[in-house]
């Protein structure tokens, strides 16, 4: 039986937790946590109930914070979260993912680390930075960040990562060797005859379809895409959407053909919701068709954006959908996106949203 539902919010000034019961009608906000450090990604380990928060302080550098009591008390560590002396130091942790007993962290500048002791100590998986494309990786607007981490749910040697702006990479050997997985995704910012390179695409967010690990969805700087073969080939699914630009994507907890996006008005048009009206866009057929979900969302004079890790679903039935804005508002839907409620406002800029369902 579901006891409570938590929304885990990473912001520019600390982590926050919102808590509700299974009805998800009223929410109680707690925080700020993590000494108000910028927290790029706050996740839950559903097996243990541990909350993990990855970020970096301008003063004190990168760290992964951890709470075993749903946010009341925290510890932090960056032991081993380091490149060799002389290399550009790690600025911040950008993404976290649990895979079996291991925890992965993606960092800025882009690289991948693994912890086998719950985030106390970290080891660099150097294979990614040894990829021949590495000298040619260029940073996106937020830096050279490894922001998307998708472990295969059944094969702990397989993992996909998304790097801005290097593209999607896949390993089948636990991180020793990597392959680019960008065929079919555009790089509109390149000269006309170089817009489908092997790597260098500006992937914004990568998510996996539930129960279909080789079905991936991607929101890119230049389009929205689906792959049904683990990223070897991507197909555009942007027809029917109001723009080709956005940051977040959120998969449904059970239906591999349902996806949520939040398109923005374009990379040089302010990066707001289109026409000053907020909408989440949902597909139920893998991106063939889209519907805009607006009930309860502001429909005028609205100039927020939603960042790449700031939208999520929960695993309840019907699924909850959540997103946080650049202006510090948090919206929640308890009916798969059909209707929305603002559950927090005046937070710092929201950088990430994840959920945890706690059983009684």
């Amino acid at each position: 039986m579901t006891n409570k539902v938590l929304i885990l919010v990473g912001t520019k000034k600390g982590a926050f937790v919102l808590e509700s019961d299974a009805a998800r009608k009223s929410w109680e906000l707690r925080g700020p946590y993590c000494e108000t450090w910028p927290m790029n990604h706050v996740i839950a380990d559903p097996a243990t109930g541990t909350i993990l928060a990855g970020g970096g302080s301008e003063w004190f550098g990168p760290a992964v914070w951890k709470s075993d009591d749903l946010g009341t008390t925290w510890t932090h560590s960056s032991a081993g979260l380091a490149y060799p002396e002389g290399e550009t130091p790690i600025k911040a942790v950008w993404s976290l993912a649990k895979s079996g007993a291991s925890l992965y962290a993606g960092v800025d500048p882009a690289g991948l680390f693994r912890s086998d002791d719950g985030g106390e100590t970290w080891s660099h998986l150097g294979g990614l930075r040894n990829h021949p494309s590495r000298p040619h990786w260029n940073p996106g607007g937020a830096g050279l960040i490894l922001h998307s981490l998708l472990p295969h749910p059944e094969d702990d040697k397989r993992l996909w990562v998304g790097i801005s702006a290097a593209g999607v990479f896949h390993t089948a050997d636990g991180g020793e060797t990597w392959e680019t997985r960008n065929r079919g995704t555009r790089a509109d910012f390149m000269p006309e005859d170089q817009r489908y390179p092997e790597f260098g695409q500006c992937v914004h967010c990568l998510v996996m379809a539930p129960g279909m690990p080789d079905r991936l969805y991607q929101q890119n700087h230049c389009g929205m895409y689906r792959s049904d073969d683990g990223g070897r080939q991507w197909t555009s699914i942007e027809a029917g959407l109001p723009s080709s630009f956005g940051f977040p994507a959120a998969a449904h907890p059970r239906d591999p053909s349902t996806l949520y996006l939040l398109p923005l008005n374009g990379d040089s048009a302010g990066r707001y919701v289109p026409d000053g009206k907020a909408a989440v866009w949902r597909t139920r057929d893998g991106g063939e068709t889209w519907e805009d979900l607006r009930d309860g969302l502001p429909q005028g004079n609205t100039y927020f954006g939603v960042l790449r890790q700031a939208m999520a679903t929960d695993r309840l039935e019907p699924a909850g959908v959540y997103f946080g804005t650049s202006t510090g508002s948090l919206y929640a839907s308890a009916d798969e996106g059909d209707s929305w409620t603002c559950v927090a406002q005046h937070l710092p800029t929201v950088l990430s949203v994840e959920t945890m369902v706690v059983e009684a």
């Binding site: 301008e58 003063w59 002389g86 130091p89």
Partner: protein
């Protein structure tokens, strides 16, 4: 018997925002005079409160861009020599947004 000046400890002062990250830490700590440099003193802090070095220094290795360490009133680096009785002041620099 008069105190031997060569044995006077280095006094390290730490900023509140750093001390809050380490529950056992204190704002002021004495480090044995045997430490030769600022880097050695930070290593001594790290032995006392594991992880503190990473909060003050990056892996270049350098003092972090938005941290400052002052010795004898001068901004210092990891190689700055320490003398017995020195005061080493760690400060958070202007940063943020």
């Amino acid at each position: 018997m008069a105190e031997d000046p060569a044995s006077r400890p280095v006094v390290v002062k730490l900023p509140a925002a750093l001390v809050r990250l380490f529950p056992e830490a204190t704002r002021q700590v004495e480090i044995p005079a045997s430490v030769a440099t600022v880097g050695d003193a930070i290593d001594a802090l790290d032995r006392r409160w594991p992880g503190m070095r990473d909060r003050i220094c990056d892996t270049t290795p350098c003092i972090r861009r938005h941290m400052n360490v002052f010795v004898r009133g001068e901004r210092s680096d990891l190689e700055t020599r320490l003398e017995p009785g020195d005061e080493m002041v760690v400060l958070t620099a202007i940063s943020g947004g």
